[in-house]
Symmetry: C2
Subunit: 446 residues, 2 copies
């Protein structure tokens, strides 16, 4: 069987980063981001199109300048649980912070979603780069990079330990023998580490896929290393074909270096296709969107987000980009460092930097259905991705992609024509991890 | 309109405390506690019967001696979100610990459930008495009573502050004026207290009921005082009519003493009705259940749970009840103190104490549909409760109550014949709390 492209859908409700004008689109409901029926419809559309997953991002800090969708949106795990019972195959991937959660509670919620969905849960592990978030969790200072990534790795290891608390045959529920639970198959983790102490056991058994799938989105050195160690899916940073290829080969190389099969980590790039009947119509639509979304104050605020919600409007817009390197350190985001480097290299003003950010968001997939399919195929064969995390502005634009581009990808053997499995692991081609205690038992018996 | 009885349903899956034999009942699915369809059916049955709420309890610590339902069950908020989209009127009350959660995350999850359900969320605030739970959250020692209850009060106050982050008209979404959010109507809480520091704002607006309903289950002095200050619903401890009356009048008195309307706190007793065609048949069924559930080792383990999962089996069963007062202090549970007092007063052996606990669980509502309705009416008019939190062993026993007892209560004008509202607050007769910032604005304008 030839390698196939994986597709995920990333709903942005009333408008994500840079989509400043989206809420004004008459086809977008003003309450989309808090309407569970919007998400159910998106998930069902994704499932109808045989996509691998619905992907829900998240954040824990806002101020009034944040993107419309961020201001007022449902929490990912409650959202996905509600979606779960209205779908049967599509994966349900939710973002949750390893910095601002406790492993016992979070492992339990994902395990619960995994049961509710019959083995379709995925956890996108983030360490939270909004410096303001720390103040919502009793901390005066944002944790630094090393502490956040150290904790993230340990957190995932603990979650996986908790998910194995029960061996798969722990509940014989044998009436004759009067044995509901076989107590030898319930295991406490008793984890004591640098960042976390968690005894266990978890009060929830494993789902049909064994454990929820771990996603991650590391860009920095620390982030890439974390991904290579524990991630099974990655959301890659934006950029052009070369950047995507560099990232892809780097992650696969690092994964192999940790002794893992590089096929067991699926790399998703972000894509916002614009599909129309002609190339001209697609380009026109792209320009329209660019104008609809133009809001200089909000672009400046978005730029500030990479520097700990810094207010750039205090600076002269037409002077050279200000010296904010100390804020990038505090915010700890690789994106910020990139912006500073670009500004220095190209000698950009603050106004130009804000404009550059917009260019960075340009989609490589704009054109007719065939043209978009061609570009996707080219990138795929060039080793730029395993999958695409697709964002659309409207339900109609999602429909245009599904009806126009997906059939072409299917005809070319690049995308499935039926789900391979009922679980997210099954559809992503990821193995079901054996329970660690059963494996030990097996090794002892061998 | 005469005062009506409120009813909630409390599903116990494969068997809660003392229901040691339930999982063996052929009509109980062996995976009931982790099957979302079981909970959806329970919720739909409760809604069909016009009950006020589905009530989901929770805990964070287990060992192999714990009740079958506790060993392996879905997390309440993911569970209730999944149930929400399959119901329209029934309230959705979930238990969550104020000791082992952060207010920002928990307030957000309940607000999310409140949106998903259209204003039907309730939070049962517990401080977690299982001493072992602390070891799942990085703590060596269980927090003492004062710290747990001090934190609980502050936690609820912070949650309510976060729930008011957006005034109800914060999102004009006015395309003409290009105003999605009115930034003057987004408020940071900036809470700094003894136990918690939370800046806010929450990234979620208010639901149709303003804020989720606060439930509580305090038995101790601290618990009763917490309830009187912030609870809008209470789950009362078990016991006979006199105990229920004492608790009811005490809570209502304390609530009034805090300057609150005692009508705005609804007191639910626990009830496990056994309904049959004749009194004899009901009593026979009661004895059958008593025998089915008899499991001395598990009763002893259940007794140990009140003393921090203490292993009583190391003691002579027929010697006087051992001196475990220091464990009650550590566990910090009023129930433990009561057991010690009863054992001393009646000079009971350990074996007798375990048996006494079982007697304590006897339902006052056993008999024909008319007999059970009579007893419920008697208790209600005697000032023992505002509502009953009903637990049934099987779906058939739930059906017998709904088909037999509910119509009699309706004929007598004691129970609704249609939902009064679409929100939990509306059906419980609780006011919608005005947003604190809108109220301030109103006061300034007056």
């Amino acid at each position: 069987m030839s390698r196939k492209i994986h597709l995920a859908l990333h709903p942005y409700g009333v408008g994500g980063p840079g989509q400043h004008g989206l809420w004004k689109d008459p086809s977008v409901a003003k309450n989309a981001s808090i309407d569970i029926n919007y998400y159910i419809r998106q998930a069902q559309a994704a499932e109808h199109a045989l996509f691998d997953a619905l992907f829900i991002v998240d954040s824990q800090f806002i101020n009034a300048t944040y993107p419309a969708h961020y201001l007022n949106r449902l929490e990912p795990l409650t959202l996905l649980s509600a979606v779960a019972t209205h779908t049967r195959h599509v994966g349900l991937v939710g973002t949750a912070s390893s910095t601002y959660n406790s492993p016992f509670n979070l492992a339990r919620r994902f395990a619960s979603l995994d049961h509710i969905s019959g083995g379709r849960a995925g956890w996108n592990v983030v360490t939270s780069f909004d410096t303001g978030a720390s103040r919502n969790f009793g901390l005066e200072e944002h944790l630094d990079y090393a502490a956040r990534y150290g904790r993230a790795l340990e957190f995932v290891q603990v979650a996986r330990g908790l998910w194995d608390s029960y061996e798969d045959d722990a509940f014989p529920a044998d009436v004759e023998r009067n044995v509901f639970l076989d107590p030898d198959k319930l295991h406490a983790l008793d984890h004591v580490g640098e960042h976390l102490r968690v005894a266990g056991p978890l009060n929830l058994s494993r789902s049909p896929q064994g454990q929820p799938v771990i996603f991650q989105a590391g860009v920095s050195e620390e982030g890439r290393d974390l991904a290579a160690q524990v991630a099974e899916g990655i959301y890659a940073p934006g950029g052009g074909l070369e950047q995507a290829q560099e990232y892809y080969s780097d992650i696969k190389r690092r994964t192999a270096a940790y002794g893992r099969d590089p096929e067991h980590i699926k790399i998703f790039i972000h894509g916002s296709p614009i599909v129309a009947g002609t190339d001209e119509a697609a380009r026109r639509r792209e320009r329209e969107i660019f104008e609809e979304d133009d809001d200089f104050a909000r672009n400046l605020a978005l730029l500030g987000r990479s520097f700990g919600a810094y207010d750039f409007s205090v600076h002269d817009l037409d002077a050279p980009f200000p010296d904010v390197a100390h804020l990038a350190e505090r915010g700890g985001r690789t994106g910020a460092a990139r912006i500073i480097e670009r500004a220095a290299t190209d000698k950009l003003t603050l106004r130009q930097v804000a404009a550059t950010l917009r260019e960075f968001r340009r989609s490589p997939f704009v054109g007719t259905p065939r043209g978009v399919a061609d570009a996707i195929e080219e990138w795929f064969h060039a080793g730029a991705f395993d999958g695409i995390n697709l964002a659309f502005r409207t339900e109609a634009e999602l429909g245009a992609f599904v009806d126009g581009v997906v059939p072409i990808l299917q005809q070319r053997g690049l995308f499935r024509t039926a789900y391979e499995a009922d679980t997210l692991r099954g559809n992503l081609g990821l193995p079901i991890p054996a329970n660690r205690y059963s494996r030990e038992r097996q090794l002892v018996n061998d």
